[in-house]
């Protein structure tokens, strides 16, 4: 039987950090994409907004998030490429924010909806758990996926694994 769940590519940030993690030339031979990530920022804050663009596009994006940060729960929305809130340099050392981004029918001709579930537990008073609903209002097939931070670089040992899932 053909393999349903295949690793397309993996990225691990090396010494010195990196401004982004990029998956390009994503084949259109799968049905869904799943990105599994573990991120930390180098900026001097306890957390940092992580961004993911599709095909380099930063427009026609909307999102809603349901989140808890250890003392309350809330929901907000926006129109940028935000998808996670990992720890950064001022957070407990050696802690990374982990999560999954699932994109069904990424190569189809409909708009692209996705969900991202992420956590950033760091044994501190503030740690984010987030559930995102994401929409890219584009009918283009996704062939590139780029992760970056709103400020600063991705820290060494940040990882991202891109999987393809076939429905037949």
């Amino acid at each position: 039987m053909a393999t349903t769940y295949t690793l397309i590519a993996s990225n691990t940030v090396g010494s010195g950090g990196a401004s982004s993690i990029d998956f390009s030339s994503i084949p259109n031979t799968y049905t869904d994409l799943k990105l599994v990530y573990s991120l930390r920022g180098t900026g001097a804050t306890t957390s940092m907004s992580a961004l993911v663009s599709f095909n380099g596009a930063t427009t026609n994006r909307t999102w809603k998030v349901l989140y808890g940060q250890g003392s309350s729960a809330a929901s907000t929305s926006g129109s940028d490429t935000y998808f996670s809130e990992p720890p950064a340099a001022s957070a407990t050392s050696n802690t990374f924010g982990n999560g999954e981004l699932y994109i069904p029918n990424y190569a189809g001709s409909s708009y692209k909806s996705a969900n991202s579930d992420s956590v950033g537990e760091n044994n501190a008073t503030t740690a984010y758990q987030e559930l995102f609903a994401i929409l890219w209002s584009s009918t283009a097939a996704i062939n590139q996926l780029t992760i970056s931070l709103a400020s600063g670089n991705l820290a060494q040992y940040s990882t991202a694994y891109l999987y393809g899932i076939k429905n037949s």
Partner: protein, 161 residues
């Protein structure tokens, strides 16, 4: 290597429909994963509902946690249909996990994530209070509105060994 995560069946609506039914689900997996992506023709936002093995009784309940984009809340429904995921007139994605679906000794638990960017981001747990194995899943939505052309329903099976 034995396959762990396998597609069972998939369909893409070529015309609008009130839902879709997966029948004769094999009992050879441990868990099921149902992916629903698409939209409805009308209704600003709606819960996807699942009915198992033609059970139309009150053997279902749901607890949910959701965000609207400006507020967060939790709710529950007892003795009614399942609410698993979310769909709206904008492209939406729901990922629904049906755990241990063939176990003949336990009630069936469903864990769902619903993502309708113009409606809600939501997570739900549902319970079907029957111990029989699930062989049929009827998918619809709470307000009985039609799903749009192009909506996809895909069922995967996951093996524990």
């Amino acid at each position: 290597m034995a396959a762990t995560y396998e597609p069972i069946a998939t369909t893409t609506l070529l015309s609008t429909a009130l839902g879709y039914t997966f029948s004769s689900i094999p009992n050879t997996y441990t868990d099921l994963v149902l992916i629903v992506q698409g939209s409805t023709v009308v209704s600003a936002g709606d819960s996807i509902t699942l009915q198992f093995n033609d059970d139309t009784t009150s053997n279902y309940s749901t607890t949910g946690l959701y965000g609207t984009g400006s507020s967060a809340a939790s709710y529950r429904e007892s003795n009614t249909f399942t609410q698993t995921g979310r769909i709206s007139t904008t492209q939406s994605t729901s990922i629904i996990n049906i755990m241990n679906y063939t176990n003949g000794s336990t009630y069936k638990t469903v864990l769902a994530r619903g993502n309708a960017p113009d409606s809600l981001v939501i997570t739900q747990v549902s319970l079907w209070r029957k111990t029989e194995a699930i062989t049929k899943i009827k998918i619809a939505n709470q307000n009985n509105v039609v799903f749009s052309i192009g909506t996809t329903f895909t069922l995967y099976g996951i093996k524990a060994a």
